[in-house]
Every structure is written in structure tokens, then in C-alpha cells.
Amino acid sequence: MLLGHRTWSFENKPVIISTGTVGGPFEANGNIANDFDILHEDMWVNQDSFEKSQQKMMEEAAQAAVKKSTIEKEQVDFFISGDLINQITPSSFAAKTIDVPYLGLFSACATSMESLGLAAFLINGDGANYVLSGASSHNAATEKQFRYPTEYGGQKPPTAQWTVTGAGCALLAKQGPGPVVTSATMGKVVDKGLTDPFNMGGAMAPAAVDTIETHFKERGVEPSYYDLIITGDLGHIGREVSLELLQKRGLDITSKQYVDCGLTIYREGQPVLAGASGAACSAIVTYGHFLNLMRKGEITRILVVATGSLHSQLSIQQGDPIPCIAHAVSIESGSDVS
């Protein structure tokens, strides 16, 4: 059901029956290593290119999600996924292996929640029985495409962020045990004219603020309704800026309640500057870490706001500002809480 202009509420209660999360060596060394299904010691994942290793991780995440559920792969109706690489080849090539009908998406790092929102919409509207929804990114493949070669010794400013290597996948169904997707607010493209690709948190913060504000208005709930409001990859600067803006606009969000996936995934002391980023960041941390907390009963209602900056290397070189987007999905604990 549409609430307002861009919020869906899912009254048929689509359930996340299982998830699959895959991480790389840097993630294995991080803060939430125990929340991963598969961790790789090698950035290459035994493949001969970084792009192929990203594809491999996406396949593994999807397979892990299906394996942990009670259904067979053949029962999956759609695979909805996206990533940051040109023409989203890792997702599309993974879809070839997974061999189920595929919808490819691109919202940069906001892809994870765009795909979860659409998957829930499909199931809620009787368009599918089982949907796999995922996102992936690879540090070296992303650096290569958007910035400099991996081994190049250029100094990054303190506002730069570290792209996560990994893939996260959620399997949604009409019913079953697991957290319930209750609503989604789709974002608008927000452009405040920022042009620095080494400060994406600052560029993405207004998009997050816009989506969060709209979500509360259209869904008609107060911020205290959620235990946690989880942003995708705003990092230190984006988190601080967006929280201050939200509070300025009269939303009563506490600092404790407002967490960022990009600040959760790595340990203090890992050289990630302003925090983590990447399409896999919000996917892994939500599907791994936060849904595990929900299963344990430590949290019951969360709003995940994945943020993405929609620039390309070409647009940056041509001097265009960085347009950003944020998609929000609310997840609430279901019947499986212990």
C-alpha cells in the first residue's frame, strides 16, 4: 500500500527467511567477523581478476542464503541485485550462474536497500513467492574503476572511505520464521553541488536526511519507534552532518540510536579513514550483524537507510557535482526471536 508519495507499507508481511554474507580478508580482521557466513583470506578468491572475485562472492552469498533456508534454488522466482562495477557485470554474471530470473539494479551503495524494498514489494503484491535480493562490492575492483590502481601510493584525505570487499544476500518469502520487512521509502536524487569524490559521506548526508524525514512523515511513526536507525555508509563526517541536520529539523533521534554500517564493520585502528563504503557495506552489516542482533532479541525494530552517490569517474572528470540517493527499508522482528 502506498503511503504518501514514496513509502510502501507491506501489510502481507514479507519475511527474510535467510541471509548469506561473504567478506574478504580486511573484513575478517574487522569488528563483526563472527557475523559472516563465508570469509576469504585472499582478495582474489581464487579468481584471475578482481571483478571475477566479486562475482564469485555474490554467487556464494546467494548460495549461502538458499542453503540456510528450507527451499531449493529452483523455487526462487527472482534474483534482484546490483553493484558498482561498470554495467553491473558482477551481478549479471552471478545471475547467469545462479540461473533464476534476474533484475539488475544500480543505485551505487544504496542498491542493497533498493533491491530489498523491491523484493518485498514483489512478494507483498503476490508477484513472487521467493526472491533473492543482494548487493556486492570489491575494494580493489572499485578503487581501480573509480580512483587509482590499488598499489598506487597517493595520499588520501581523512574524508576518504574504504570500499568493503564482500557480498550480502537476503532470501525473502511470503511466510516463515525470520524478520519481517514492514515498509520502504524510496529516495529522491539529491544534489547539493559537492564535487569531491574523496568526501562521499558529506555528499550523501542530505539524501539520507531527505529519505529519513520523508519516511517518518509518510509512515506516521516517531523516531523512537525504531531501536536503531542504520545508515549505509555515511562514515564519520556524513553521520555527524546528517544527525545534526535531522535534529535541526525537529526529529528526535538520539546519537546512540543513529548508527552507521560503515562505522560498524571495521575495528578501531584499521586504516579506513572516515569509515567503510561500498554496495556490500550496508548489505553485509544489515544481513549479518544487525539481523543477528534481532534474532537474539536485542533489537526489535530497525530502519536501514542505504546511501549511494551516483557519480562515475567520467562525470567527476567533467566537473559534474555528485548526485546522491538514499533508500530506506524498515525491518521488524518476526516469529523466530528467542
Partner: protein, 159 residues
Amino acid sequence: MADKKKKNLPPDAQNYQKFQQQREVKRPLLKNCLKAFFIGGLICLIGQVITTFYIYFFHFTEQTAGNPTTATLIFITMLLTGFGIYDRFGQFAGAGTAVPVTGFGNAVIASAIEYRTEGFILGVGSNMLKLAGPVIVYGVFSAFVVALIKTILIKWGGL
């Protein structure tokens, strides 16, 4: 030009940029300069040691020892880049590792390694100078301009 662009932005975007800039973590300029000075100086010191080594043991002169010294430094850079150490070093030292010839070497070698997956011709061959290319282009061009000025001054300026 950046300022001109900024003026064309709607006021709320300008306000946001101001707001954001106040909260942005700035580059620690003084600290970076000091680090660059000492690390850059250290690399030059190593270069000087190598030069002296070539002069004393291989009978190079001060003029001819430059090339083997540069080659040696680039060779060391190649190893450090290949083992994945140079980029961490670069994050710490900034301009200290970028300005000396080692920075140039790193830019070429890092690109060559990175594009190996696209093959030797279209990958390594066409991308090797992706980062270092501009340095060569504008280095040669500015050398040409300086040489032109020098020639004019000597021929007609009476120097």
C-alpha cells in the same frame, strides 16, 4: 572557476556546503608537510648514499652516477610496490614519497600491475602510463618552453 560554479548553486545548496565544510575533517597540513619533508629528505639521503657508492666502488663521476642511482631507486620502488608496501608508505608520507623519482616509478608500476588482468597489450601496454603520462607530457612541454626562452635570451638578449 570553482567559485563561479558555487555562485550558480541554489542558496540551500550553498548553505549546506558551508555547514558541511565546517564539520569536514581537514587534511592536517602542517603535519603532512613535516612528514613529507622528512620522508622525502630520507629518500634523497638514500639516493645520495647510492650515488656515493657508485662513485667510490664503480668509478662513476658525479655527473654519470645520476642514472644508475635513479634506476636503483626505481628498482627498490618496484619491489616495494609489488609487495604492497609502497601504498601504505605513501599514505603516511604523502608528497614525501610522491615527489621523488620513486613516486613516478610507483605510479607506472602500480598501473602496470593493476591492468595485468586486461592483457599485456590493451591492459599493461595502454594503461601503464595512465597516471605517469601527464607528468611526461607536461614535463617535456615545459622543458621545451624553458629551452625556447633560454635560446631567445642567449641569441637576442645578449646573455
